[in-house]
Structure formats: C-alpha cells, structure tokens
C-alpha cells in the first residue's frame, strides 16, 4: 500500500483536531448541506457573500479526518476569494484528489492530493467543496456524494 503518511499528513491531523472556522455563521446569506450516505459524513456550510466576494465562511458537521480537514482547509482558502476563484479551487482540488497532480495554485491544499491512491476516500476530500458550490448556487436540497 502507498504509505498511509501520504494520506494522513500532519496538516490533515492538525485541521482534523482543530478545525478552523468551525460553527454556525449567524449572518450567512448562503447555506448548503452536504452528505455522504456511504459513511455518514455530514457538513453544513455557511457563507456570507457580498459583491461576489466570500467575506466569511464557517462549517459544522461530523466526518472522518479527511472530510473534516478538507472542510477546514477549504474555509481558510476561500475566505476573501471571489466566487469564480473559489470554484476554480474546487476544480483544482477535484483534479488533485482524483489524479494526484498538484496544481501550481494548490498551496496548503496540496495535502489533499494524498487521497488519489485511495479512491474510496476521494468523496471524503471533495464533500465540503461540492457543498460550497451548492451554497454559491443556493441549492436548497442537501448535496449528496452519490
């Protein structure tokens, strides 16, 4: 097996144990729920979007280390970004998680490339990101990974 350390890098543990931007965002104007019925991972994402810019973001939920860390890392990297830039990051993360190729703009998110050797875990890594897209599109139905 590919070394588990590829998957469980220190940054992942750090964000799993101390998720950033965790909790409810009272003045959110976008919200979406994501759910992975296979493993029960759940995430609720709150965004405050003004003039096309994500001014604030928070998340709540229960999930594995990968899902939680990915959500936490996402909140850090999309805060202050324009909607289009955030969606571009989703594409980057999706690409990394499925192919392992680290894009130039990945920054800290590069740790998510580790999941590409674990196809079962790609959904964990991308759940929060798909939920972010749904929140930007204001989809009322919970996003499912299935």
């Amino acid at each position: 097996m590919t070394d588990l350390r590829e998957l469980y890098q220190e940054t992942i543990f750090d964000h799993y144990r101390q998720p950033r931007n965790y909790g409810r965002l009272e003045d959110a104007n976008r919200k979406a729920e994501g759910y992975n019925p296979l493993c029960g991972d759940k995430v609720t994402l709150y965004l405050r979007v003004e003039d096309g810019v994500i001014r604030d973001v928070r998340f709540e939920g229960t999930g594995c280390a990968i899902a939680t860390a990915s959500a936490s890392l996402m909140t850090e990297s999309i805060k202050g970004k324009r909607e289009g830039e955030a969606l571009q990051l989703l594409a980057t993360v999706h690409q990394m998680a499925t192919s392992g190729t680290i894009a130039g703009d990945a920054g800290k998110l590069r740790v998510l490339a580790g999941v590409h050797e674990f196809p079962e875990r790609v959904k964990c890594a991308t759940l929060a990101w798909h939920t972010m897209k749904a929140a930007l599109e204001n989809v009322a139905q919970p996003v499912s990974t299935e």
Binding site: M1, L4, C39, A65, R121
Partner: protein, 417 residues
C-alpha cells in the same frame, strides 16, 4: 494450556482446514495476507459453489421447466434439487414453500407488496424494531404510504437488546404484522424470535423474520420457530449473489396475490383472463437465476456437511477470544453487547472516525466495514454516525483476530492516540 486456549487452538486447526476450500483467502492486499472480516456484508465462496455454477454453464446450461430436451431436464433437476436442499436446511414442510428471489431484500418487498398491500387498511399497524436493516424498514414504509397503515418501532436497550416489555405494549388489536430481524447485522444481537412469534401469534398476528444475518450463523428451523415468513440471501451463506429465499407457510402464500407477472408464474393466459400457477411458481415470474440457485444448493450442501453447530461453536470461540482484546484497547467502545450475540464486533474509537479506521485496517490487509451498515435509525439510537465492524465466518482464525487487534493499535498510533 488453559481451557480457553485449548478450545481456540482446536477451532483454529479446524478453520485452517476449512480455509483450503476458499481460493480467495490466499489473496494478498497491499502486500499483506488478506484478513477478511467483512462477512456480515458478504461471505467468500468455497470451491464447491464456484464449481457448481461453472459446471452448469459449461455442461448443461438451459432454461428450466420449459424444454423437452435433455439439457433442460438436467437444469430443471438441479434447480429443483436445490429447492429441496433449502427446504431441508430450514426444515420447511414442503419444497413449494421455498420461493427463489434475488435476496432477502426482494423477499421482504414481496411480502410487503403482496401480503401487505392486499390486506392492510388505514389505521392498521405493523411492528418492526430499532435494529432493523433498511431492507426491513423501507418496504414497510412504502406499503404504509400506499395503504395508510402505521409503522410502530419496538425499542432496544443500551446493550442492543430488544425491549420485550415495550414490544408487548405495542402489540394490540390493530397490529397486522410483525417484521423483525433474527440477528442484527450491526450489533450481532440474536433476537428472541421464538418468544416474539409466540406473543404475536397469541394475537393472531403473523411474523416475518429477516434471517439475512442469521442463516449462516444459527441453525434455523422455521417449523420450530413457527414463523410465517423467513427471508434470507444466498451470498451471506457462502453462496452466490443475486439469489435468495422467501419461506412462507403454504396457507399464507396460497392466499397471496402474485408479486410480479410474466412467464412461469401462470397456468394459462388469454386476453379474457389469466390463471396463476401453483406454488412456488406463482411467485417466480420470468427465467430465474438458475446458476445462482444451483450455486446456492452447493452452498447449502457445503454448510450442511460441516454442520451449523460446528460453525456456531467456532465463531463463538472467536468472539470470546476477540471481545476482551478489543475491549482492552483504551478509547475503544464496542457497540452491541447483548448477552446473546453472534460473531459481530461493531466498535467506535475516540478521536478516530470509523472511515479512517477502515482505511488504516485495509492497509494491514484487514477488511472490515465502516459506515452505518444500512441501519441509520440504529446509529441514531446510539448517537453515532457510524461504526467499524468486524464480522466472523467459519474460515477466520485466532491469528486473524490478532492481526485485527494489532491493526487497531496501528490506527491509534497513526492518529497519535
């Protein structure tokens, strides 16, 4: 050697011998020997089953109950012989009480849609338990929506045992059916089905038993239980996927309308009207899973030759060996600690999500299930999103339990716990 050690040693020798019949157990995953502990999801198949299916396709593939040619006769003979094997396995009164379906799920849907839908009225009640698999919940919810009947849920205690007093309290003059699992797939709990059936019958309420998780781990005697329906899947009994059984009492099955229409299930068809075939064919529309049935017959032979008592003793020895080893791991909690349980160990670990446990165990070659095991209401009852679940079969060994426990420690190490 202490008595327990000697017992385990004895069972291990037996299992080592049984293992030779399962080619897949020689597989390596991630460079490590496969330790297959996901038997509650599906069991591996012995050579006898694999060869029975192959032999049918190689030597006598033909449709059943149709042809006047030799191949069709051979196929029909093998097909019907398998039905008799299943009848003997569960001690049904007649082979015609054995209906071949796709699996336990289809068996329950059949009863819900044929028996339930034709009889239930608004205000009627059905009883299930908190520990049911989704396949013994959703078909009843569907028929409740169609008829206006109401689904009642019998609760369980913190050990994962059905609360019989509460179950009794739910039984009333509006109750039309009880549907309960024999063994919980998530907890391993063995339900007191004989007792449940007695109490339900005292009120003339029929009982469906979901035997998916019991059939390979308990001797089942449908006449001793006096259950009205019994459902199970072949693939959890060392048989093929896509084949299962609904047992029903003749009087009930006879009175039920067909579930699906098509070939085989008719006596004669005209545009003025169609008469239905007799049991069991009335419920077997279309060309059946012939290879699956023949494979299931081989699986029944395989299990019968070993003897379910021997299998039960072996799996109990593994459970007795593994339970304290896992319990000793700090931060690990076993979910499902019923006094009566089969070889299923569901657990959660502090600070490590079951999904992560599953990945780390897989890296050590250990296959377990991580998730809600299609029992979301049960997970809700315990206030957890998921568990990791190790489940034993006849070919598992003490040494494999040791690998599991070491892998659990590895998970703790990886997570710095």
């Amino acid at each position: 050697m202490k008595l327990l050690d000697r017992l385990i040693h004895h069972h291990d020798l037996q299992a080592q011998f049984w293992r030779t019949e399962f080619p897949i157990l020689k597989t390596k995953v991630h460079g490590k020997p496969l330790v297959y502990l996901d038997n509650a999801a599906t069991t591996q198949k012995p050579l006898a089953v694999i060869e029975a299916e192959t032999k049918y396709y190689r030597d006598y593939n033909a449709n059943v109950h149709r042809g006047i040619h030799a191949l069709s006769q051979w196929a029909t003979d093998a097909f019907e012989a398998a039905r008799t094997k299943v009848q003997r396995l569960i001690n049904a009164a007649s082979p015609s009480e054995i209906i071949f379906v796709r699996g336990a799920t289809e068996a329950i849907n059949l009863v819900a849609q044929s028996y339930g839908r034709s009889r239930l009225q608004a205000g009627d009640e059905l009883i299930v338990s908190t520990m049911e698999h989704h396949s013994n919940i959703v078909p009843w919810q569907m028929v409740c929506q169609q008829t206006g009947a109401i689904l009642r849920v019998a609760p369980i205690n913190d050990k994962g045992e059905l609360q019989m007093d509460a179950f009794d309290a739910l039984l009333n003059e509006r109750t039309r059916l009880v549907a309960v699992t024999h063994v919980s797939n998530s907890l391993g709990t063995i339900n007191p089905v004989r007792d449940i059936i007695e109490r339900a019958h005292a009120r003339n309420v029929p009982v469906l038993v979901d035997g998916a998780q019991a059939i390979a781990h308990r001797p089942v005697d449908v006449r001793a239980l006096d259950c009205d329906f019994y459902a199970f899947s072949g693939h959890k009994l060392y048989g093929p996927t896509g084949i299962g059984v609904l047992y029903g009492k003749t009087a009930l099955l006879d009175a039920m309308p067909p579930y699906q229409g098509g070939g085989e299930m008719i006596s004669s068809v005209s545009f003025e009207g169609t008469t239905y075939n007799t049991l069991p064919f009335k419920f077997e529309a279309g060309t059946p899973n012939i290879a699956g049935v023949i494979g299931l017959g081989a699986a029944v032979d395989y299990v019968t030759n070993i003897g379910l008592e021997a299998i039960v003793a072996h799996e109990e020895a593994l459970l007795v060996y593994a339970t304290p080893l896992l319990t000793k791991v700090s931060g690990l909690r076993i979910i499902g600690t019923a006094a009566e349980k089969t070889g299923i160990l569901s657990f959660v670990m502090e600070g490590i999500h079951p999904h992560d446990i599953g990945t780390i165990l897989d890296g050590e070659g250990v296959a377990v299930r991580a998730g809600h095991h299609c029992t979301m209401p049960l997970m809700e009852r315990f206030g957890i999103p998921a568990t990791a679940r190790a489940s034993f079969a006849l070919y598992n060994t003490k040494q494999e339990v040791d690998v599991l426990v070491a892998a659990v420690h590895k998970a703790k190490e990886v997570f710095g716990r």
